[in-house]
C-alpha cells in the first residue's frame, strides 16, 4: 500500500507539471446549492429516445423526462395528478378515457401540442415493443374530439391506464418528428430541457439546456442539466464526494450503506418491487404438495421476514406478506398479522396436509444475483423439511424459464406501478407470471369488480382481492423493496413512492 502510494505520488508529480494548466477547474464541478447546472448520474445509458421504445421506467427515466413532458404526473404517493392533461375521467363502462389537454404547449420544433399529437404518440407507441406497448394493449383507438380534448377508446376496462400515462407511456414527442429515423437519438419534445447534441457524447454524457418556452419552468430550477452514465458505485461515490455528481439512484443495500458511510445524503422510498418466493404451482402440476393451500401457508409461516429484511436486505424495505406495497391502494395494514413467523405452526400445517416429512422440489439457481436471498429461503424451507435442488441457469434465461412454467417456485422480484399492473402481469389466465394459468372464480370476480368500480369502491375491491391472495397463499413475499437516492452536498430530493427514480422536478437545491 505505502509503496504504491509513494510510486503513485511520484508518477503523478511527473504529470502534474504538464496538467496544471487546466486542472484546477476540472474538479470543481457543479457545487451544491447553485442553480446553474445539475449533474446527475444513471447506471444505464438511455436505450432509445423513440416513442414506444423507451425502456421500462427505471434508472434511465431522467434522460427522457428532461426532453419529454408527460400527459400526467405522479404525486408523492405515486398517484396520478394533472400535467399536460388537466382533467381525465372514465365513462361508466370503463372503456373510454376522456382527456382534457393544456392549450398553451408547443414542441421545440414549433408543432402544437394538441389532441392530434396525443393520438399520434399513443397509437405509435402501441405498435412498439417497449413498456408503453404493453401498457397500451387494451387501447383500441384514440379519438380526437377537438384540439384540447381526446378520448382513448379501450377494448376492455383498464383502470391502470392513468398510472401508465404518468410514466413512460405518457411521453409526448412532436408529431412532426415521430416519423424521423433519428428520433431514437435526436428527441424532439416539449419537456423542460432540450438535448444539446454538440455537448452530448452518446452512451456516456447527455447534456441538456433549458427549454425557454417550457410552461412550467419554475419546477425546474437548473439552467442546464447533465446526465452521466456511470455504472461503478465507487467511482460515483468519488464523484459525489468531490462534487462532480449531484445525485444517483441506488438500488442495493450495499450501495445505500456505502453512500451513507461516505457521508452522503440518502433518501429511501419504496420501489414498487415485491420480493420473495413466488409460488407458481398452485395447482400442483409439478409439485402436488403445492396444490394444498396448507402447504403454501406453511411456507409463509416458515419465513422470518423481519430477520430477512434486517440481514439480507440490510434493513432496506418493509417486511410484508402482501403483493401490494404500503403505498398501494390495495394495501391493507391489518393483513400483515396473517403469517407470523412460527415454525411449529408451519409444521402442523404440513402434517395436516400429509407432508410431515416434507418433500423435494427444484428451483432455478438465483445465487449469482441474490446469494444471500437464496441462502435465507433455503434455510426457511429446510426448517419445514422442504428440500430444494437448485438448477443452474444463466441470467437471461431466468425470466423466460419462469414464464415457460419450468419451476414450481422460485425467488423473484416483480416491480409494478399500480395494482392493476400486478393483476395484469400475475393474476389472470393471460398473465405471463401465472405460468400454470391458475384460475379461481372468486379471484376473477374480484378482478372484474375492481376493474369496473371507481373511487372507494374500487379500493375496497382491490383490498378484498389482496386479502384473497394472502389467505390463499398464492405467493410468499417477504419484503416490499426500498431503494435510495443519493445526493451530494446542497442537493435535496423528494421521492415518489413506488417509483424507482424520483422525478427530475423533485431534485433541487436543499432548503437546509
Amino acid at each position: 500500500m505505502r509503496r504504491s502510494l509513494v510510486a503513485a505520488t511520484a508518477a503523478s508529480a511527473l504529470l502534474l507539471t504538464a496538467a496544471c494548466g487546466g486542472s484546477s477547474d476540472g474538479a470543481t464541478g457543479s457545487g451544491g446549492g447553485s442553480t446553474d447546472d445539475l449533474t446527475l448520474a444513471a447506471i444505464t445509458p438511455p436505450a432509445s429516445f423513440a416513442i414506444g421504445e423507451m425502456a421500462s421506467s427505471g434508472p434511465e427515466d431522467h434522460y427522457y423526462q428532461a426532453v419529454y413532458d408527460k400527459l400526467l404526473n405522479l404525486d408523492a404517493d405515486g398517484q396520478p395528478v394533472p400535467n399536460l392533461v388537466t382533467e381525465w375521467s372514465y365513462d361508466e363502462t370503463g372503456t373510454r378515457l376522456s382527456l382534457t389537454l393544456r392549450d398553451d404547449v408547443t414542441f421545440t420544433d414549433g408543432a402544437a401540442f394538441d389532441a392530434e399529437a396525443v393520438k399520434a404518440n399513443l397509437e405509435l407507441a402501441k405498435t412498439k415493443t417497449g413498456e408503453a406497448g404493453s401498457a397500451l394493449r387494451a387501447v383500441e383507438s384514440v379519438e380526437v374530439v377537438d384540439a384540447t380534448h381526446a378520448d382513448i377508446v379501450l377494448s376492455r376496462p383498464d383502470p391502470s391506464l392513468p398510472q401508465a400515462l404518468a410514466r413512460s407511456t405518457g411521453y409526448m414527442a412532436s408529431p412532426d418528428a415521430l416519423g424521423n429515423a433519428d428520433l431514437s437519438t435526436n428527441p424532439v419534445g416539449s419537456g423542460p430541457y432540450v438535448l444539446d447534441q454538440d455537448a452530448t457524447t452518446p452512451g456516456s454524457t447527455y447534456a441538456y439546456t433549458r427549454n425557454e418556452d417550457y410552461w412550467n419552468a419554475e419546477e425546474y430550477p437548473y439552467d442546464s442539466l447533465e446526465i452521466r452514465f456511470l455504472d461503478d458505485t465507487t467511482a460515483t461515490l468519488n464523484g459525489l464526494r468531490s462534487g462532480e455528481i449531484d445525485g444517483i439512484a441506488v438500488s442495493t443495500s450495499d450501495g445505500v450503506s456505502g453512500a451513507e458511510q461516505a457521508g452522503l445524503d440518502v433518501t429511501t422510498y419504496t420501489s414498487g418491487g415485491i420480493e420473495g418466493l413466488y409460488l407458481w404451482d398452485r395447482d400442483g402440476a409439478l409439485v402436488p404438495a403445492l396444490g394444498d393451500v396448507r402447504v403454501r401457508q406453511a411456507i409463509n409461516h416458515a419465513m422470518d421476514r423481519e430477520t430477512i429484511v434486517d440481514v439480507v436486505k440490510g434493513g432496506l424495505g418493509q417486511p410484508t406478506v402482501q403483493m401490494f406495497g404500503p403505498s398501494s391502494p390495495a394495501y391493507d395494514e391489518s393483513l400483515e398479522g396473517t403469517y407470523e413467523y412460527d415454525v411449529e405452526k408451519a409444521e402442523e400445517l404440513m402434517a395436516e396436509a400429509g407432508y410431515a416429512d416434507g418433500f423435494t422440489m427444484s428451483m432455478p439457481d438465483a445465487s449469482p444475483v441474490a446469494p444471500d436471498e437464496q441462502a435465507a429461503l433455503t434455510e426457511a424451507l429446510a426448517a419445514i423439511d422442504i428440500t430444494v435442488t437448485f438448477e443452474p441457469i444463466t441470467g437471461d434465461q431466468y425470466v423466460g424459464s419462469i414464464i415457460g412454467g419450468q419451476w414450481p417456485v422460485n425467488w423473484f422480484n416483480l416491480t409494478t406501478g399500480s395494482p392493476f399492473e400486478m393483476i395484469g402481469l400475475a393474476l389472470t389466465q393471460q398473465s405471463p407470471f401465472n405460468p400454470f394459468k391458475t384460475a379461481d372464480p372468486e379471484l376473477d370476480e374480484l378482478i372484474a369488480r375492481a376493474g369496473s368500480a371507481t373511487g372507494d369502491e374500487q379500493e375496497a375491491a382491490l383490498q378484498e382481492l389482496n386479502a384473497f391472495l394472502v389467505e390463499q397463499a398464492w405467493f410468499a413475499p417477504w419484503v416490499a423493496g426500498e431503494v435510495g437516492y443519493v445526493t451530494g452536498e446542497g442537493i435535496g430530493v423528494e421521492p415518489v413512492q413506488g417509483v424507482s427514480v424520483p422525478p427530475l422536478a423533485n431534485i433541487g437545491p436543499s432548503s437546509s
Binding site: S4, A11, G26, A47, P202, G203, D396, Q397
Partner: protein, 313 residues
C-alpha cells in the same frame, strides 16, 4: 518495402477476420435469448417473437454470419441491439476516450521507462537496486488499486484532478489533460515497471558490447555514447516490450475506465458483452484488433529503421 507493407496489411486483415469470426460464433454458442434481455421481464411471448424476428435471430447462424460479414466488408457494422445506435457511431464516440487514455499511458511509459532504465543501467548501485525493487512491487499492485488511491488522494482529498469523467480535447485541452492524467498514471505504472526493467537490461547488454568500448576509445562525449549509440541499439528490445505493453494497456484500460467512470471502449465492451449485444461486441473486437495490427505494423517499421539488419521484405 511496399511489398512488405502490403503483406503485413493483408495478414492484419486476415487476423481481424479470424478474430471477428471467432467472437461471432462464441456469442452464438450458448442458447441465450437476446430479445428477452432487451425487452425485460414484462414482455409477452409475441413481443419476444416479434423482436427476435426484427433482430433476424430466427434465421440460421451461418446466414446471419454471412450477412454480418458482407455488411462489415462494406463498412457497415450494424446497430446495437440495445440502443439501436449504429455500432460505428458508438465505437467512434468511445474511441477518443480510450485512445487518449492508452496513448497518454504509453507515452508516459516510454518516457519514464527510458529515463529510469538508462539511469539504472548507467549509474548502477543503490539506484539500480531501488529501481528493480520498486519495479517488482509496482508490477504486483493491481492497477485499479493504484487508480482508486490516486482518485482518493488527488481528486477527492486534494481536488487537483477530476475524480471521474472525460473532457474531449476539442472542448478544452487543459481539462482534457486533467481528465486523463490520473487514469493514465494508474495505467502506466505497471507498464513502466516492465518496460523500465527491460530497458535497463538491454542497456546493460549494449554497454557490455565491444563497440561501446571502441566508441569510448574514440574519445566521444559520454552523452553521445549513451544516448545516441547505446540507446539506439537498446531500443529494439524496449520497443518490442512496449508494443506488447500497448496490447496489455488496452486490457488494463477496461478496468481503469471503470474506476474513473470513463465511458470508453472498455466500459462499452463490458456492458455489451454482459448484455450480449453481439453487433457492438463485434464492432469493438474489430476495432481493437485493427489497433493492435496497426501498432505491430508501426513496431515493425520502427524496428527496421532502428536495426538495418532487419530487411523489410
Amino acid at each position: 518495402m511496399l511489398l512488405f507493407l502490403l503483406r503485413r496489411i493483408g495478414a492484419g486483415i486476415a487476423l481481424v477476420w479470424v478474430a471477428a469470426t471467432l467472437v461471432f460464433f462464441l456469442t452464438t454458442l450458448t442458447g441465450s435469448d437476446p430479445a428477452r434481455r432487451i425487452l425485460g421481464p414484462q414482455a409477452g411471448p409475441d413481443e419476444i417473437a416479434a423482436k427476435t424476428r426484427e433482430l433476424g435471430l430466427d434465421r440460421p447462424v451461418l446466414e446471419r454470419y454471412w450477412d454480418w460479414f458482407t455488411s462489415a466488408l462494406r463498412g457497415d457494422l450494424g446497430a446495437s441491439w440495445f440502443t439501436n445506435q449504429p455500432v460505428s457511431r458508438l465505437v467512434a464516440d468511445a474511441l477518443p476516450v480510450s485512445l487518449s487514455l492508452v496513448l497518454a499511458a504509453i507515452v508516459l511509459t516510454a518516457a519514464v521507462s527510458i529515463v529510469l532504465g538508462v539511469v539504472a543501467a548507467v549509474r548502477g548501485g543503490w539506484l539500480d537496486s531501488l529501481l528493480q525493487g520498486v519495479s517488482i512491487v509496482a508490477f504486483a499492485v493491481p492497477n485499479f488499486l493504484i487508480g482508486m488511491v490516486l482518485a482518493l488522494v488527488f481528486a477527492v482529498q486534494l481536488g487537483i484532478f477530476p475524480a471521474l469523467g472525460y473532457t474531449p480535447f476539442g472542448e478544452d485541452p487543459g481539462r482534457w489533460l486533467a481528465s486523463i492524467t490520473l487514469p493514465a498514471v494508474a495505467l502506466a505504472i505497471g507498464a513502466i515497471a516492465t518496460v523500465a526493467t527491460q530497458t535497463r537490461g538491454s542497456m546493460i547488454d549494449v554497454l557490455q558490447q565491444d563497440y561501446v568500448r571502441t566508441l569510448r576509445s574514440r574519445g566521444l562525449p559520454t552523452r553521445s555514447v549513451l544516448l545516441k549509440h547505446a540507446l539506439r541499439n537498446a531500443a529494439p528490445a524496449s520497443l518490442t516490450v512496449l508494443s506488447l505493453q500497448f496490447i496489455a494497456l488496452i486490457s488494463g484500460a477496461v478496468v481503469i475506465e471503470k474506476v474513473f467512470g470513463l465511458n470508453g471502449l472498455g466500459e462499452r465492451a463490458t456492458a455489451a458483452a454482459g448484455q450480449g449485444d453481439v453487433p457492438l461486441v463485434l464492432g469493438i473486437v474489430v476495432l481493437a484488433v485493427v489497433v493492435v495490427v496497426a501498432v505491430n505494423l508501426l513496431l515493425d517499421l520502427a524496428l527496421g529503421w532502428l536495426n538495418p539488419k532487419v530487411r523489410l521484405a
